[in-house]
Symmetry: C2
Subunit: 241 residues, 2 copies
Amino acid sequence: MTEAKPDNYVTTDNVRPTAVVLISGGLDSATTLAIARKEGFACHGLTFDYHQRHRIEIKAAKRVAQQLGVSSHQFVEINLRMFGGSALTDRIEVPKDRDASQMSREIPVTYVPARNTIFFSYALGLSEVIGASNIFIGVNAVDYSGYPDCRPEYIQAFEKMANLATKVGVEGQRLTIHAPLIDMTKTEIIRHGLEMGVDYSLTHSCYDPTRDGNSCGRCDACLLRIRAFESLGMRDPVLPH
Amino acid sequence: MTEAKPDNYVTTDNVRPTAVVLISGGLDSATTLAIARKEGFACHGLTFDYHQRHRIEIKAAKRVAQQLGVSSHQFVEINLRMFGGSALTDRIEVPKDRDASQMSREIPVTYVPARNTIFFSYALGLSEVIGASNIFIGVNAVDYSGYPDCRPEYIQAFEKMANLATKVGVEGQRLTIHAPLIDMTKTEIIRHGLEMGVDYSLTHSCYDPTRDGNSCGRCDACLLRIRAFESLGMRDPVLPH
Protein backbone atom coordinates (compact mmCIF):
# COMPACT_ATOMS: atom_id res chain seq x y z
CA MET A 1 0.00 0.00 0.00
CA THR A 2 1.16 3.51 -0.74
CA GLU A 3 -0.26 6.66 0.79
CA ALA A 4 -2.29 8.46 -1.82
CA LYS A 5 -0.81 11.33 -3.77
CA PRO A 6 -2.58 12.75 -6.79
CA ASP A 7 0.30 11.50 -8.95
CA ASN A 8 -0.06 7.86 -8.02
CA TYR A 9 -3.65 7.66 -9.16
CA VAL A 10 -2.46 6.57 -12.57
CA THR A 11 -1.28 3.11 -11.78
CA THR A 12 1.05 1.24 -14.10
CA ASP A 13 -1.29 -1.72 -13.75
CA ASN A 14 -3.30 -1.48 -16.96
CA VAL A 15 -4.54 -5.04 -16.94
CA ARG A 16 -6.97 -5.07 -14.03
CA PRO A 17 -10.21 -3.08 -13.91
CA THR A 18 -10.09 -0.21 -11.42
CA ALA A 19 -12.41 0.37 -8.48
CA VAL A 20 -12.89 2.92 -5.73
CA VAL A 21 -13.57 1.10 -2.44
CA LEU A 22 -15.09 2.91 0.54
CA ILE A 23 -13.13 1.74 3.59
CA SER A 24 -14.54 2.69 6.98
CA GLY A 25 -12.35 0.42 9.05
CA GLY A 26 -15.35 -1.70 10.02
CA LEU A 27 -16.03 -5.36 9.46
CA ASP A 28 -18.26 -4.85 6.42
CA SER A 29 -15.92 -2.63 4.43
CA ALA A 30 -12.96 -4.92 5.17
CA THR A 31 -14.90 -7.83 3.73
CA THR A 32 -15.94 -5.72 0.75
CA LEU A 33 -12.34 -4.78 0.01
CA ALA A 34 -11.35 -8.45 0.17
CA ILE A 35 -14.15 -9.31 -2.30
CA ALA A 36 -13.10 -6.54 -4.72
CA ARG A 37 -9.49 -7.75 -4.54
CA LYS A 38 -10.56 -11.37 -5.09
CA GLU A 39 -12.63 -10.32 -8.10
CA GLY A 40 -9.46 -8.88 -9.62
CA PHE A 41 -9.95 -5.14 -9.18
CA ALA A 42 -7.12 -2.70 -8.64
CA CYS A 43 -8.55 -1.00 -5.55
CA HIS A 44 -8.27 2.66 -4.60
CA GLY A 45 -9.36 3.10 -1.00
CA LEU A 46 -11.36 6.12 0.15
CA THR A 47 -11.80 6.80 3.87
CA PHE A 48 -13.66 9.67 5.53
CA ASP A 49 -12.76 11.51 8.66
CA TYR A 50 -16.15 13.04 9.39
CA HIS A 51 -15.33 14.10 12.94
CA GLN A 52 -17.15 10.98 14.11
CA ARG A 53 -17.02 10.23 17.80
CA HIS A 54 -15.31 6.94 17.08
CA ARG A 55 -12.34 8.33 15.11
CA ILE A 56 -10.36 5.22 15.91
CA GLU A 57 -12.16 3.88 12.82
CA ILE A 58 -9.68 5.76 10.64
CA LYS A 59 -6.67 3.93 12.09
CA ALA A 60 -8.54 0.68 11.54
CA ALA A 61 -9.15 1.66 7.90
CA LYS A 62 -5.37 2.08 7.42
CA ARG A 63 -4.62 -1.31 8.98
CA VAL A 64 -7.30 -3.06 6.90
CA ALA A 65 -6.09 -1.49 3.63
CA GLN A 66 -2.52 -2.45 4.51
CA GLN A 67 -3.45 -6.07 5.19
CA LEU A 68 -5.53 -6.54 2.06
CA GLY A 69 -3.56 -4.29 -0.30
CA VAL A 70 -4.69 -1.19 -2.21
CA SER A 71 -3.25 0.73 -5.15
CA SER A 72 -3.78 4.01 -3.29
CA HIS A 73 -5.62 5.18 -0.19
CA GLN A 74 -7.15 8.63 0.04
CA PHE A 75 -8.33 10.18 3.33
CA VAL A 76 -10.94 12.91 3.08
CA GLU A 77 -11.78 15.16 5.99
CA ILE A 78 -15.37 16.32 5.91
CA ASN A 79 -17.30 17.97 8.65
CA LEU A 80 -20.75 16.48 9.15
CA ARG A 81 -20.79 17.55 12.77
CA MET A 82 -22.13 20.94 11.76
CA PHE A 83 -25.34 19.22 10.73
CA GLY A 84 -25.69 17.52 14.10
CA GLY A 85 -28.69 15.27 14.41
CA SER A 86 -26.85 11.96 14.96
CA ALA A 87 -25.43 10.14 17.96
CA LEU A 88 -22.27 9.49 15.93
CA THR A 89 -21.49 13.17 15.42
CA ASP A 90 -23.50 14.95 18.09
CA ARG A 91 -23.97 14.85 21.85
CA ILE A 92 -26.73 12.25 21.68
CA GLU A 93 -26.56 9.04 23.73
CA VAL A 94 -25.60 5.89 21.79
CA PRO A 95 -28.30 3.26 22.53
CA LYS A 96 -27.07 0.10 24.28
CA ASP A 97 -28.13 -3.50 24.83
CA ARG A 98 -30.88 -3.51 22.20
CA ASP A 99 -32.12 -6.78 20.78
CA ALA A 100 -32.48 -7.48 17.06
CA SER A 101 -36.17 -6.53 16.92
CA GLN A 102 -35.48 -3.12 18.50
CA MET A 103 -32.65 -2.51 16.03
CA SER A 104 -34.76 -3.20 12.97
CA ARG A 105 -37.91 -1.40 14.11
CA GLU A 106 -36.89 2.20 13.57
CA ILE A 107 -34.25 4.52 12.15
CA PRO A 108 -31.78 4.79 15.06
CA VAL A 109 -30.18 7.94 16.45
CA THR A 110 -26.85 6.67 15.08
CA TYR A 111 -28.18 7.44 11.59
CA VAL A 112 -26.14 10.33 10.12
CA PRO A 113 -28.23 12.46 7.72
CA ALA A 114 -27.27 11.80 4.08
CA ARG A 115 -23.97 10.21 5.11
CA ASN A 116 -23.83 7.46 2.52
CA THR A 117 -24.97 9.89 -0.17
CA ILE A 118 -22.14 12.28 0.72
CA PHE A 119 -19.60 9.41 0.81
CA PHE A 120 -20.83 8.08 -2.53
CA SER A 121 -20.63 11.54 -4.08
CA TYR A 122 -16.95 11.86 -3.21
CA ALA A 123 -16.36 8.32 -4.49
CA LEU A 124 -18.04 9.38 -7.71
CA GLY A 125 -15.71 12.36 -8.06
CA LEU A 126 -12.66 10.20 -7.35
CA SER A 127 -13.77 7.48 -9.77
CA GLU A 128 -14.16 10.07 -12.49
CA VAL A 129 -10.71 11.56 -11.90
CA ILE A 130 -8.87 8.21 -11.83
CA GLY A 131 -11.00 6.69 -14.60
CA ALA A 132 -12.54 3.93 -12.45
CA SER A 133 -15.86 2.47 -13.59
CA ASN A 134 -16.58 0.70 -10.31
CA ILE A 135 -17.39 1.77 -6.76
CA PHE A 136 -17.57 -0.79 -3.92
CA ILE A 137 -19.45 -0.12 -0.70
CA GLY A 138 -20.05 -2.48 2.22
CA VAL A 139 -23.67 -1.67 3.04
CA ASN A 140 -26.05 -4.45 3.84
CA ALA A 141 -29.80 -4.45 4.11
CA VAL A 142 -30.22 -7.43 6.43
CA ASP A 143 -28.61 -6.13 9.60
CA TYR A 144 -28.97 -2.54 8.54
CA SER A 145 -30.71 -1.34 11.70
CA GLY A 146 -33.18 0.74 9.74
CA TYR A 147 -30.77 3.01 7.85
CA PRO A 148 -32.64 4.17 4.72
CA ASP A 149 -29.42 4.59 2.72
CA CYS A 150 -28.47 0.92 3.04
CA ARG A 151 -31.40 -0.43 1.02
CA PRO A 152 -30.99 -1.96 -2.47
CA GLU A 153 -33.47 0.51 -4.04
CA TYR A 154 -31.33 3.38 -2.73
CA ILE A 155 -28.14 1.88 -4.20
CA GLN A 156 -29.86 1.39 -7.57
CA ALA A 157 -31.17 4.97 -7.56
CA PHE A 158 -27.70 6.29 -6.75
CA GLU A 159 -26.16 4.29 -9.59
CA LYS A 160 -28.74 5.63 -12.04
CA MET A 161 -28.15 9.20 -10.89
CA ALA A 162 -24.37 8.72 -11.01
CA ASN A 163 -24.51 7.65 -14.63
CA LEU A 164 -26.33 10.88 -15.48
CA ALA A 165 -24.11 13.06 -13.28
CA THR A 166 -20.71 12.56 -14.77
CA LYS A 167 -18.60 12.84 -17.85
CA VAL A 168 -18.16 9.06 -17.74
CA GLY A 169 -21.91 8.50 -17.96
CA VAL A 170 -22.32 11.03 -20.78
CA GLU A 171 -19.47 9.55 -22.78
CA GLY A 172 -20.95 6.06 -22.67
CA GLN A 173 -18.69 4.28 -20.14
CA ARG A 174 -20.92 2.79 -17.48
CA LEU A 175 -20.30 3.25 -13.76
CA THR A 176 -21.29 0.30 -11.57
CA ILE A 177 -21.97 0.47 -7.85
CA HIS A 178 -21.12 -2.83 -6.16
CA ALA A 179 -22.71 -3.63 -2.81
CA PRO A 180 -21.69 -7.30 -2.53
CA LEU A 181 -22.87 -7.66 1.10
CA ILE A 182 -26.33 -6.22 0.56
CA ASP A 183 -28.21 -9.50 0.96
CA MET A 184 -25.87 -11.20 3.42
CA THR A 185 -26.35 -11.62 7.15
CA LYS A 186 -23.52 -10.57 9.45
CA THR A 187 -22.72 -14.25 10.00
CA GLU A 188 -22.46 -14.89 6.26
CA ILE A 189 -20.26 -11.80 5.84
CA ILE A 190 -17.82 -12.96 8.53
CA ARG A 191 -17.74 -16.55 7.26
CA HIS A 192 -17.00 -15.32 3.73
CA GLY A 193 -14.37 -12.87 4.97
CA LEU A 194 -12.58 -15.52 7.02
CA GLU A 195 -12.42 -17.76 3.94
CA MET A 196 -10.71 -14.90 2.09
CA GLY A 197 -8.25 -14.33 4.92
CA VAL A 198 -9.63 -11.09 6.37
CA ASP A 199 -8.08 -10.38 9.78
CA TYR A 200 -11.06 -9.04 11.72
CA SER A 201 -8.89 -8.18 14.72
CA LEU A 202 -7.74 -5.18 12.65
CA THR A 203 -11.27 -3.81 12.21
CA HIS A 204 -13.29 -1.44 14.39
CA SER A 205 -17.09 -1.21 14.48
CA CYS A 206 -18.05 0.17 17.91
CA TYR A 207 -20.11 3.40 17.98
CA ASP A 208 -18.95 4.30 21.47
CA PRO A 209 -15.40 3.07 22.16
CA THR A 210 -13.59 3.68 25.43
CA ARG A 211 -10.83 6.30 25.57
CA ASP A 212 -8.19 3.64 24.94
CA GLY A 213 -10.02 2.44 21.84
CA ASN A 214 -11.71 -0.66 23.18
CA SER A 215 -15.15 -1.65 21.89
CA CYS A 216 -18.04 -1.09 24.32
CA GLY A 217 -19.58 -4.46 23.51
CA ARG A 218 -23.11 -3.09 23.99
CA CYS A 219 -24.00 -0.72 21.11
CA ASP A 220 -25.87 -2.01 18.03
CA ALA A 221 -22.65 -2.29 15.98
CA CYS A 222 -20.86 -4.30 18.69
CA LEU A 223 -23.84 -6.55 19.40
CA LEU A 224 -24.40 -7.41 15.74
CA ARG A 225 -20.85 -8.63 15.28
CA ILE A 226 -20.55 -10.33 18.68
CA ARG A 227 -23.71 -12.36 17.97
CA ALA A 228 -22.51 -13.21 14.46
CA PHE A 229 -19.11 -14.46 15.70
CA GLU A 230 -20.94 -16.45 18.41
CA SER A 231 -23.13 -18.12 15.79
CA LEU A 232 -19.89 -19.32 14.16
CA GLY A 233 -18.70 -20.62 17.51
CA MET A 234 -16.12 -17.83 17.77
CA ARG A 235 -15.36 -14.89 19.98
CA ASP A 236 -15.22 -11.44 18.31
CA PRO A 237 -11.42 -10.81 18.16
CA VAL A 238 -11.82 -7.07 18.94
CA LEU A 239 -13.46 -7.67 22.33
CA PRO A 240 -11.17 -6.76 25.23
CA HIS A 241 -10.12 -9.78 27.31
CA MET B 1 -29.84 37.70 7.66
CA THR B 2 -28.09 36.07 10.57
CA GLU B 3 -24.88 34.10 10.33
CA ALA B 4 -25.68 30.44 10.67
CA LYS B 5 -25.35 28.72 14.01
CA PRO B 6 -26.75 25.25 14.57
CA ASP B 7 -29.16 26.76 17.12
CA ASN B 8 -30.80 29.13 14.71
CA TYR B 9 -31.87 26.37 12.36
CA VAL B 10 -35.18 26.15 14.15
CA THR B 11 -36.77 29.34 13.03
CA THR B 12 -39.76 30.78 14.85
CA ASP B 13 -41.40 31.20 11.46
CA ASN B 14 -43.71 28.21 11.34
CA VAL B 15 -46.00 29.53 8.64
CA ARG B 16 -43.80 29.43 5.56
CA PRO B 17 -42.46 26.23 3.99
CA THR B 18 -38.73 25.81 4.47
CA ALA B 19 -36.09 25.41 1.75
CA VAL B 20 -32.36 24.92 1.50
CA VAL B 21 -30.99 27.18 -1.26
CA LEU B 22 -27.55 26.58 -2.77
CA ILE B 23 -25.93 30.01 -3.07
CA SER B 24 -22.72 30.19 -5.08
CA GLY B 25 -22.54 33.95 -5.36
CA GLY B 26 -23.16 33.78 -9.10
CA LEU B 27 -25.92 35.27 -11.18
CA ASP B 28 -27.97 32.07 -11.40
CA SER B 29 -28.08 31.24 -7.70
CA ALA B 30 -28.93 34.87 -6.84
CA THR B 31 -31.92 34.67 -9.18
CA THR B 32 -32.88 31.29 -7.72
CA LEU B 33 -32.83 32.66 -4.17
CA ALA B 34 -35.03 35.56 -5.29
CA ILE B 35 -37.50 33.10 -6.84
CA ALA B 36 -37.60 30.94 -3.70
CA ARG B 37 -38.22 34.04 -1.58
CA LYS B 38 -40.95 35.25 -3.94
CA GLU B 39 -42.61 31.83 -3.80
CA GLY B 40 -42.85 32.25 -0.03
CA PHE B 41 -40.13 29.92 1.24
CA ALA B 42 -38.15 30.53 4.40
CA CYS B 43 -34.69 30.11 2.86
CA HIS B 44 -31.62 28.56 4.47
CA GLY B 45 -28.57 29.36 2.37
CA LEU B 46 -25.78 26.85 1.83
CA THR B 47 -22.48 27.98 0.30
CA PHE B 48 -19.38 25.89 -0.40
CA ASP B 49 -15.79 26.89 -0.09
CA TYR B 50 -14.30 24.16 -2.24
CA HIS B 51 -10.87 25.77 -2.57
CA GLN B 52 -11.96 27.04 -5.97
CA ARG B 53 -9.59 29.37 -7.73
CA HIS B 54 -12.23 32.07 -7.73
CA ARG B 55 -12.84 32.17 -3.97
CA ILE B 56 -14.19 35.69 -4.29
CA GLU B 57 -17.44 33.86 -5.06
CA ILE B 58 -17.92 33.25 -1.34
CA LYS B 59 -17.93 36.96 -0.51
CA ALA B 60 -20.43 37.44 -3.32
CA ALA B 61 -22.63 34.70 -1.81
CA LYS B 62 -22.71 36.61 1.50
CA ARG B 63 -23.65 39.87 -0.23
CA VAL B 64 -26.38 38.20 -2.29
CA ALA B 65 -27.90 36.46 0.76
CA GLN B 66 -27.80 39.72 2.67
CA GLN B 67 -29.59 41.63 -0.09
CA LEU B 68 -32.32 39.06 -0.64
CA GLY B 69 -32.70 37.81 2.92
CA VAL B 70 -32.21 34.33 4.37
CA SER B 71 -33.25 32.67 7.64
CA SER B 72 -29.73 31.27 8.05
CA HIS B 73 -26.60 30.91 5.95
CA GLN B 74 -24.24 27.99 6.35
CA PHE B 75 -20.72 27.91 4.85
CA VAL B 76 -19.19 24.50 4.28
CA GLU B 77 -15.51 24.04 3.54
CA ILE B 78 -14.87 21.01 1.37
CA ASN B 79 -11.70 20.12 -0.43
CA LEU B 80 -12.30 19.06 -4.01
CA ARG B 81 -8.81 20.15 -5.03
CA MET B 82 -7.46 16.77 -4.00
CA PHE B 83 -9.38 15.26 -6.87
CA GLY B 84 -7.84 17.67 -9.36
CA GLY B 85 -9.07 17.29 -12.88
CA SER B 86 -10.73 20.70 -13.29
CA ALA B 87 -9.58 24.16 -14.33
CA LEU B 88 -11.54 25.56 -11.36
CA THR B 89 -9.57 23.62 -8.76
CA ASP B 90 -6.40 22.55 -10.53
CA ARG B 91 -3.57 24.16 -12.47
CA ILE B 92 -5.38 23.88 -15.79
CA GLU B 93 -5.83 26.91 -18.06
CA VAL B 94 -9.33 28.44 -18.07
CA PRO B 95 -10.46 28.67 -21.74
CA LYS B 96 -11.11 32.18 -23.06
CA ASP B 97 -12.97 33.92 -25.87
CA ARG B 98 -15.03 30.89 -26.90
CA ASP B 99 -18.22 31.35 -28.89
CA ALA B 100 -21.53 29.71 -27.97
CA SER B 101 -21.05 26.74 -30.29
CA GLN B 102 -17.67 25.91 -28.75
CA MET B 103 -19.17 26.15 -25.25
CA SER B 104 -22.01 23.73 -25.94
CA ARG B 105 -20.01 21.21 -27.98
CA GLU B 106 -18.10 19.47 -25.21
CA ILE B 107 -17.69 19.08 -21.48
CA PRO B 108 -15.28 21.91 -20.61
CA VAL B 109 -12.18 21.72 -18.41
CA THR B 110 -14.03 23.93 -15.91
CA TYR B 111 -16.22 20.92 -15.13
CA VAL B 112 -15.51 19.79 -11.55
CA PRO B 113 -16.02 16.01 -11.14
CA ALA B 114 -19.24 15.24 -9.25
CA ARG B 115 -19.42 18.79 -7.90
CA ASN B 116 -23.18 19.28 -8.07
CA THR B 117 -23.71 15.78 -6.66
CA ILE B 118 -21.49 16.58 -3.69
CA PHE B 119 -23.22 19.96 -3.16
CA PHE B 120 -26.66 18.34 -3.39
CA SER B 121 -25.65 15.64 -0.91
CA TYR B 122 -24.74 18.22 1.72
CA ALA B 123 -27.97 20.09 0.96
CA LEU B 124 -29.81 16.81 1.50
CA GLY B 125 -28.16 16.35 4.90
CA LEU B 126 -28.96 19.94 5.91
CA SER B 127 -32.56 19.67 4.72
CA GLU B 128 -33.02 16.56 6.80
CA VAL B 129 -31.59 18.17 9.93
CA ILE B 130 -33.66 21.37 9.68
CA GLY B 131 -36.77 19.56 8.44
CA ALA B 132 -36.88 21.26 5.02
CA SER B 133 -38.71 19.46 2.22
CA ASN B 134 -37.31 21.65 -0.54
CA ILE B 135 -33.91 22.24 -2.11
CA PHE B 136 -33.35 25.03 -4.64
CA ILE B 137 -30.45 25.02 -7.11
CA GLY B 138 -29.71 27.46 -9.90
CA VAL B 139 -28.59 25.07 -12.63
CA ASN B 140 -29.76 25.60 -16.16
CA ALA B 141 -29.58 23.34 -19.16
CA VAL B 142 -29.69 25.99 -21.89
CA ASP B 143 -26.40 27.78 -21.33
CA TYR B 144 -24.93 24.90 -19.40
CA SER B 145 -21.74 24.61 -21.43
CA GLY B 146 -21.94 20.84 -21.49
CA TYR B 147 -21.96 20.11 -17.76
CA PRO B 148 -23.64 16.69 -17.36
CA ASP B 149 -24.89 17.52 -13.86
CA CYS B 150 -26.97 20.47 -15.06
CA ARG B 151 -29.41 18.44 -17.14
CA PRO B 152 -33.08 17.90 -16.15
CA GLU B 153 -32.71 14.10 -16.21
CA TYR B 154 -29.86 14.37 -13.71
CA ILE B 155 -31.93 16.57 -11.37
CA GLN B 156 -34.86 14.13 -11.56
CA ALA B 157 -32.58 11.16 -10.83
CA PHE B 158 -31.08 12.97 -7.84
CA GLU B 159 -34.55 13.77 -6.47
CA LYS B 160 -35.60 10.14 -6.80
CA MET B 161 -32.43 8.93 -5.07
CA ALA B 162 -32.80 11.58 -2.33
CA ASN B 163 -36.27 10.36 -1.47
CA LEU B 164 -34.89 6.86 -0.95
CA ALA B 165 -31.79 8.03 0.93
CA THR B 166 -33.24 9.77 3.91
CA LYS B 167 -35.45 9.45 6.93
CA VAL B 168 -37.75 12.05 5.37
CA GLY B 169 -38.29 9.90 2.29
CA VAL B 170 -38.85 6.75 4.37
CA GLU B 171 -41.33 8.46 6.66
CA GLY B 172 -43.47 9.67 3.79
CA GLN B 173 -42.65 13.39 3.62
CA ARG B 174 -41.55 14.16 0.07
CA LEU B 175 -38.38 16.09 -0.75
CA THR B 176 -38.58 18.27 -3.85
CA ILE B 177 -35.61 19.56 -5.81
CA HIS B 178 -36.41 22.89 -7.46
CA ALA B 179 -34.34 23.99 -10.44
CA PRO B 180 -36.45 26.96 -11.58
CA LEU B 181 -33.91 28.21 -14.14
CA ILE B 182 -33.42 24.89 -15.88
CA ASP B 183 -35.20 25.83 -19.10
CA MET B 184 -34.36 29.54 -19.13
CA THR B 185 -31.76 31.30 -21.26
CA LYS B 186 -29.30 33.60 -19.49
CA THR B 187 -31.22 36.58 -20.90
CA GLU B 188 -34.50 35.31 -19.48
CA ILE B 189 -32.85 34.66 -16.11
CA ILE B 190 -31.50 38.22 -15.90
CA ARG B 191 -34.76 39.79 -17.07
CA HIS B 192 -36.68 37.81 -14.45
CA GLY B 193 -34.16 38.63 -11.74
CA LEU B 194 -34.25 42.36 -12.49
CA GLU B 195 -38.07 42.29 -12.20
CA MET B 196 -37.66 40.76 -8.72
CA GLY B 197 -35.09 43.38 -7.71
CA VAL B 198 -31.92 41.26 -7.78
CA ASP B 199 -28.83 43.49 -7.64
CA TYR B 200 -26.50 41.73 -10.08
CA SER B 201 -23.62 44.05 -9.22
CA LEU B 202 -23.31 41.98 -6.01
CA THR B 203 -22.80 38.70 -7.88
CA HIS B 204 -19.64 37.07 -9.17
CA SER B 205 -19.44 34.55 -12.02
CA CYS B 206 -15.92 34.80 -13.49
CA TYR B 207 -13.84 31.59 -13.50
CA ASP B 208 -10.55 33.48 -13.60
CA PRO B 209 -10.79 36.82 -11.77
CA THR B 210 -7.86 39.22 -11.41
CA ARG B 211 -6.07 39.47 -8.08
CA ASP B 212 -8.24 42.46 -7.10
CA GLY B 213 -11.40 40.48 -7.80
CA ASN B 214 -12.36 41.90 -11.19
CA SER B 215 -13.98 39.66 -13.77
CA CYS B 216 -11.78 38.67 -16.70
CA GLY B 217 -14.56 39.28 -19.21
CA ARG B 218 -13.32 36.46 -21.46
CA CYS B 219 -14.06 33.08 -19.81
CA ASP B 220 -17.26 31.16 -20.61
CA ALA B 221 -19.00 32.37 -17.45
CA CYS B 222 -18.17 36.05 -18.16
CA LEU B 223 -19.07 35.84 -21.84
CA LEU B 224 -22.46 34.20 -21.19
CA ARG B 225 -23.57 36.98 -18.87
CA ILE B 226 -22.01 39.84 -20.87
CA ARG B 227 -23.87 38.70 -24.00
CA ALA B 228 -27.12 38.26 -22.05
CA PHE B 229 -26.93 41.77 -20.56
CA GLU B 230 -26.12 43.11 -24.04
CA SER B 231 -29.21 41.43 -25.47
CA LEU B 232 -31.22 43.42 -22.91
CA GLY B 233 -29.46 46.61 -23.99
CA MET B 234 -27.46 46.71 -20.75
CA ARG B 235 -23.88 46.49 -19.61
CA ASP B 236 -22.98 43.72 -17.13
CA PRO B 237 -22.66 45.68 -13.85
CA VAL B 238 -19.69 43.59 -12.66
CA LEU B 239 -17.46 44.56 -15.61
CA PRO B 240 -14.65 46.91 -14.58
CA HIS B 241 -14.95 50.38 -16.08
